[in-house]
């Protein structure tokens, strides 16, 4: 007969497969949309999903149907003043079909809009960067914990048995349990020795005494060497990873030669470093330094959108960074990371100064310094000076970038270090 079934618990997320298929199908469009999104997003704003819009005409599935034209008769409701035989100018967008067809004409306003979750967003973000899978999973998991030792417990798995503790416990227990018998045994033994001087060993009193001694010895032997009660296990508990604070310096050349495209690449470069830092440190501050001939600390908006003209003096930015570090970020308390993006153009005499500042005032204090040169031209003098630094310092990485996938190799060592 009638059945009432509670289905609420089964079949959750049944549409996940279809959703994945949908996302894969429109990968190109979504990626394009993501590109626009990244341009608008803040470097530090990577922990949420995103609204994506793709052209509706791409998602439509074609089927045979009638187009406009020909002869047709349509019935509509809600007549107010029409009489049979009235002639009316033809309304735009499908005669008599109401507003349903009109939307086709409005291009762009009729996009298919939907939300990507944070995980899906990161997936697409990573895709261009060609991150290795290990790194991807590492970056997208949020709460990392670490197993730490936390004393000992009386319950656990055999692999965690602490032998020394267990045996110490067993020994203690043995001593404690045997003590009363040992004491009596010693006493009886003395008694026996004493009696044997006066009596025959066939006398009843001797026999009783020896029985008693025998009994005591057995009692002592019966105390087990080790008991499950003695076992002690090493205890490990999950503890959130020790968190410390980090500061990230974004240094970018904003001279006229850096166009929109170069800035877009730089932005992804900075985003990736930021993402890495969020996995390792709880508290992160970001400092933006833009420079042409002089450097200044700016907010993110100005950093990515302002454009200056004039020459380039890279050392000005490095000097500024160094002084900010000394003022605000004592190296005992802060882990310092720096990412620099430039088109490689620098005032000729300045490059050796850069090298000097880096060698003396920056490299000893930073965890990692990554430099990318965004240019298709041949290397300039800054590159050569930096190459020297690279050979001297292990925590310095540099790369010439033409396409977005080139970004990740700059950080390769950084990620590798943390993975092991």
């Amino acid at each position: 007969m009638t059945q009432i079934v509670d289905r609420r618990l089964n079949g959750k997320n049944k549409s996940a497969v279809n959703r994945q298929k949908f996302l894969r199908r429109f990968r190109q469009q979504i990626k394009k949309s993501i590109e626009n999104v990244i341009a608008e997003r803040s470097v530090t704003d990577l922990d949420k999903g995103e609204k994506i819009s793709i052209p509706r005409k791409d998602t439509n599935e074609p089927f045979f149907h009638h187009g406009k034209g020909g002869h047709r008769e349509v019935v509509n409701p809600g007549n107010k003043e029409f009489q049979a035989g009235d002639k009316i100018p033809r309304p735009e967008g499908g005669a008599g079909q109401g507003g349903s067809e009109a939307s086709d004409s409005g291009e762009g306003t009729d996009d298919f809009v939907f939300e990507l979750s944070r995980e899906e967003f990161l997936q697409f973000f990573f895709e261009d960067l060609e991150l290795p899978n290990l790194v991807k999973t590492k970056l997208s998991t949020i709460n990392e914990t670490k197993k730490v030792r936390a004393g000992h417990t009386s319950e656990g798995i055999p692999a965690n048995i602490n032998i020394v503790r267990s045996l110490t416990g067993a020994m203690g227990r043995r001593i404690a349990l045997r003590a009363p018998y040992k004491k009596e045994l010693k006493q009886k033994q003395a008694e026996l020795d004493d009696l044997l001087k006066r009596h025959n060993n066939t006398d009843q009193i001797i026999i009783d005494l020896m029985d008693r001694i025998e009994f005591l010895k057995k009692k002592i032997q019966k105390v087990p060497f080790i008991d499950s009660f003695d076992l002690r296990y090493d205890n490990r508990i999950d503890e959130p990873k020790p968190t410390t604070q980090a500061v990230m310096f974004c240094i970018m050349d904003v001279s006229g030669s850096m166009g929109r495209e170069e800035k877009d690449i730089s932005k992804r470069f900075f985003m990736l470093l930021y993402l890495f830092l969020t996995r390792t440190y709880e508290k992160i501050q970001v400092v933006f330094i833009s420079h042409h001939t002089i450097a200044s600390e700016v907010d993110e908006e100005t950093f990515f959108y302002s454009r200056e003209t004039g020459g380039t003096v890279v050392s000005s930015a490095l000097k500024l960074m160094s002084s900010i570090v000394q003022e605000r970020y004592p190296t005992d308390d802060w882990n310092i990371y720096a990412a620099q993006a430039s088109d490689g153009d620098n005032w000729h005499n300045d490059s050796s100064i850069c090298k000097k500042i880096l060698n003396e005032k920056i490299m000893p204090f930073v965890q990692y310094f990554a430099y990318i040169e965004i240019t298709a031209d041949r290397h300039q003098n800054l590159w050569e000076e930096y190459t020297d630094i690279k050979s001297d310092w292990d925590n310095f990485a540099m790369k010439r970038i033409e396409k977005i996938p080139d970004i990740y190799p700059v950080f390769r060592k950084l990620f590798k270090k943390r993975n092991t």
Binding site: R24, F63, H65, G67, R72, E73, I88
Partner: protein, 500 residues
Amino acid sequence: MTRKPISETSEWTFELIEEYHTEIERIAGNFGLSTYPVQLEIITTEQMMDAYSSVGMPVGYSHWTFGKEFVNTEKNYKRGQMGLAYEIVINSDPCIAYLMEENSMPMQALVIAHAAYGHNSFFKNNYLFTTWTSADSIIDYLLFAKEYILNCEQRHGEEAVENILDSCHALKNFGVDRYKRPPTLSMQEEQNRQKEREEYLQSQINELWKTIPARQSNTDADQPQHYPDEPQENILYFIEKNAPLLEPWQREIVRIVRKISQYFYPQRQTQVMNEGWATFWHYTILNKLYDEGLCNDGFMIEFLQSHTNVVQQPGFDSPYYSGINPYALGFNMMSDIRRICEHPTDEDREWFPEIAGSNWLETMDFAMRNFKDESFIGQYLSPKVIRDFKLFAITDDDKKRQIEVSAIHNTSGYQSVRKTLSEQYNLGSIEPNIQVYDVDLKGDRTLTLRHTQFQRRPLDKSAHEVLKHAARLWGFNVILESVDDKGRITRTYESKSSSF
């Protein structure tokens, strides 16, 4: 005699659902509704959206278009655009009706009356459903389809399967037999027969090309020979049986899409009737419940508010207008039939002499069993409903500069409005008439489809896209000829086999 209301608050519990269901079942039985056994399933919002996006079926093969639908449904739901009391009912035996956990008790009762008794009795008794669908085996078949397609994905790659499905979906409205009853479906038989069919079909296809009739005589050769002998309306069926290059698994997928499309064919033809019938019965049953004192005023007010929303019909000039609301038209026509039976006016006696004053239960039962939207409107749309809706017909001819009001709700217009509206629900004229016309057996195997124009209506420009899909399935070039009423080809579309 009045009894105590079953519940006072709007919270639902399993016990309450059972109590309400018992009463609704009793009342429906008293009205003579014949139904499949009912299975009520409580589901979450997410599961409901999921079912919505997979065309209302509890199991289905996976494809990106369902993902798209889900994303869409979810978005609309979050924006609160879906005012309907979510209800989904499956034409199966037992009849499965979904109740969403978020609904209040009155809404659950409404859904039970609407879906589990209204739609259910329609599924069981309407001639289209009894002839064309097999309620006892559809779930099994869908399960078979899901597993089969998953299997294909593993064996041949997701992309290959997706391509075939895309192409089949483009043609799925042309994958139905309109006049021939399809054999029943069953998972067991399907699986047993599937392998057999695979081998057999493949041999047939090869055979087809081997046995191209040799020229018997010179006189014969002059006569152009057509293959197929007569135009075929079921394009997917023709492709499944005749496309030379399809692999067996691809044929099976064509078949699956075709079968499922066939299953939904009656639903596409009975929207007004089906919704009208179900709405009429939830209205009648819940009112009866109220008359017996089984529910209180609060219950009725919540129910009526929802009911009123559902049967609302905005006028053509309203910003909310999106065509005629099948719930509104259906409900009003059904209620009107009851009125004509119980309280006929002179006008009704003139228009409906055979039903005016008759037993309303019998008359409505007859109407429900023996019609589809087109014929139902043609038979039962009364002048009163035309007046209530203020229906008017527009003639739009692209040869004239202006459109013309051809009939309105007055004595001289009733017949014409009724005829036009009835035609508006005729799938045969809504959908373009496209049939398989010819295969060039002796030449390059080009498949020719023929579109017979209906009142000079052209095909939409998307026809090019659809043709690419047809060519992918056929494996060779496909031509689509559009033919006017004088038999002249006015337009030709062509797609090469390698368009994708």
